[in-house]
Symmetry: C2
Subunit: 335 residues, 2 copies
């Protein structure tokens, strides 16, 4: 049995839950849209599954749901935004117009967000830039979760990177990947469904390889992808998202002092490039030429394509939510 809701109706419900637990209505709409975008696109690990985490974090007092970001014009190509201990998506929304204007004027611009909480997928942050014709790259650091290649204990976060490239007449090509073998959300999903994860993903509190998602999440750690290569990416993300923005490193996380808190107060960096300044009008044609070759080489699915297919179905037929999951959302309205 499933409850079927439109994207708008589900966004309303999620926003109500967030307001119920301390968010301002405007901020709640922004965060709800990101949660529902993940659910809509079949990205379950970042969809409604996360809502109890948002609520618990708001209730803990660790994040400020009413924060008004402070957007500073730092340089002709830089925007520096203090999220004021609020959600990163709210800071991004407040900075988007000035960032795009800078990227149009300078050809490239970056947004440095600090003092922010990012608890969602990263692709919703870059897709809109590509939909507006920009190439976009985003990184976020989070609390310590992975054991860097060659190290003995966890230090860097699962630090994701996302990339988006516009296509003429088609939705952007977008990828989003953690620096760990799998995203932490996948381990959370496995824990919720009480099933083991694949080998090689994580270790337990003693540092021994484990397929038990709870052992990995509770005191254990996750492994970087491709050993030193994922570690190098995670390090770069920590520099760009925290050192460069003036944000906190993953190891500086203080959420443990706020029982229930599940987010990290960290940073985010987004680089946006206007392709026509160097590629001229040919950029779109060139991207399509590459895509045609990718498909001809046997690739069955382009980055983001699976999400777009799910999205089309959700927009046409609504989002089907298991009755138990829907009840859990509604219960958060009363909690």
């Amino acid at each position: 049995m499933a409850v079927v809701l439109t994207v708008e109706a589900l966004t309303d419900v999620v926003a109500q839950v967030l307001v119920r637990h301390g968010m301002s209505p405007g901020n709640a709409r922004i965060v709800a849209a990101v949660v529902v975008a993940a659910e809509r696109d079949g990205s379950r690990s970042h969809g409604l599954l996360r809502l109890p985490g948002y609520v618990a974090t708001l209730k803990s007092g660790w994040v400020d749901g009413t924060a008004v970001p402070d957007v500073v014009d730092a340089a002709p190509g830089l925007v520096a935004t203090d999220a004021r201990n609020g959600f990163a998506q709210v800071a991004l929304a407040a900075s988007r117009t000035v960032l795009e204007a800078k990227a149009r004027a300078a050809g490239i611009a970056a947004l440095a967000i600090r003092n922010s909480h990012h608890f969602a997928a990263l692709w919703p942050d870059v897709e809109p830039f590509a939909a507006s014709g920009f190439v976009a790259l985003a990184v976020v650091n989070v609390r310590s979760r992975i054991v860097v290649w060659g190290a003995k204990r966890k230090l860097l976060g699962t630090n994701p990177m996302a990339f988006a490239c516009p296509r003429p007449g088609a939705p952007p090509l977008v990828w989003d990947q953690a620096s760990s073998v799998v995203a932490q959300g996948e381990v959370l999903l496995a824990a919720t469904e009480r099933r083991p994860v694949a080998p090689g993903i994580g270790v337990d509190a003693q540092g021994a390889p484990s397929v038990d998602p709870r052992a990995i999440l509770d005191g254990g750690a996750m492994m970087p992808f491709a050993d030193h290569k994922g570690s190098a990416i995670a390090f770069m993300v920590e520099i760009l998202a925290a050192a460069l923005t003036g944000g906190r490193f993953g190891f500086e996380d203080r959420s443990a002092a706020f029982p229930g808190a599940q987010t990290s107060n960290a940073g985010q960096c987004i680089i946006v490039i206007e392709p026509s300044r160097t590629a001229g009008n040919a950029f779109g044609t060139r991207v399509e030429a590459l895509i045609a070759q990718l498909l001809a080489s046997g690739v069955s699915r382009l980055p983001g394509e699976h999400r777009y297919a799910r999205r089309r179905r959700a927009l046409a037929d609504g989002i089907a939510i298991a009755e138990r999951d829907h009840a859990a959302v509604m219960a958060l309205l009363e909690a």
Copy 2:
């Protein structure tokens, strides 16, 4: 038995070899410095081992060793350089001053190089920016060499990415990694030394897994690291280095029409960020705080550290070159 040469003496010899085979003296100095930097730093796969490839490519007529790059001020944050079918390092050298000036003024700037040949390691391109206080990220695309995750035949190049971060009072932290499991240079080195490579690195011409470096290089292909994750990075590099710059994609390589040619005519993108505009004066202190934690977590070697150790020895004691390898270099002076 080994011949020991100073960095300067070896650079002179390599530059002479390059001039002997058609490079202009100024261009030859630039490329020789990069070849010797790799040899000096113990990065053998990109050192003297590559010199016969440079010579063969110059002799084939595929690359123009006398090219004078065309540097265009494309936007307040963008430099667009046509390498004019010359080596990418020559184009970078011609663009460096304007790129750094833009990064200082705008806070961020990018260099888009097209119509260029990159046959060296990528870290020498970013390290100097970090030595000047910038954070730098570089990508290069090369001819088709990897089979994208889920595809049936090779399409994207081993498309490396390099990252450099300045440190106060210490050489920059620098990493440089291919999108393949190992760099193609490692497979070349194994072929030269007639030893097998590790499993999982490549496939033969029939698409079957192979540990024979010659089978991988001759008609075979290399595998992306971490399956879809390395594939996603290689795709991003192809967009940034080729589509964005107006350069050629790896699959558009026409070097086969020039027997002996070993380079790709492709593109490169370098993004340079001035950290003080968003991080203030604290950037260096923050980077050191992260490094202290990395070391405390058990990491035995920081990115680039092994190269710096080799470099110190080479600068103090000279570069030791096996007699046979030295004879091969000298033979290229006569060839």
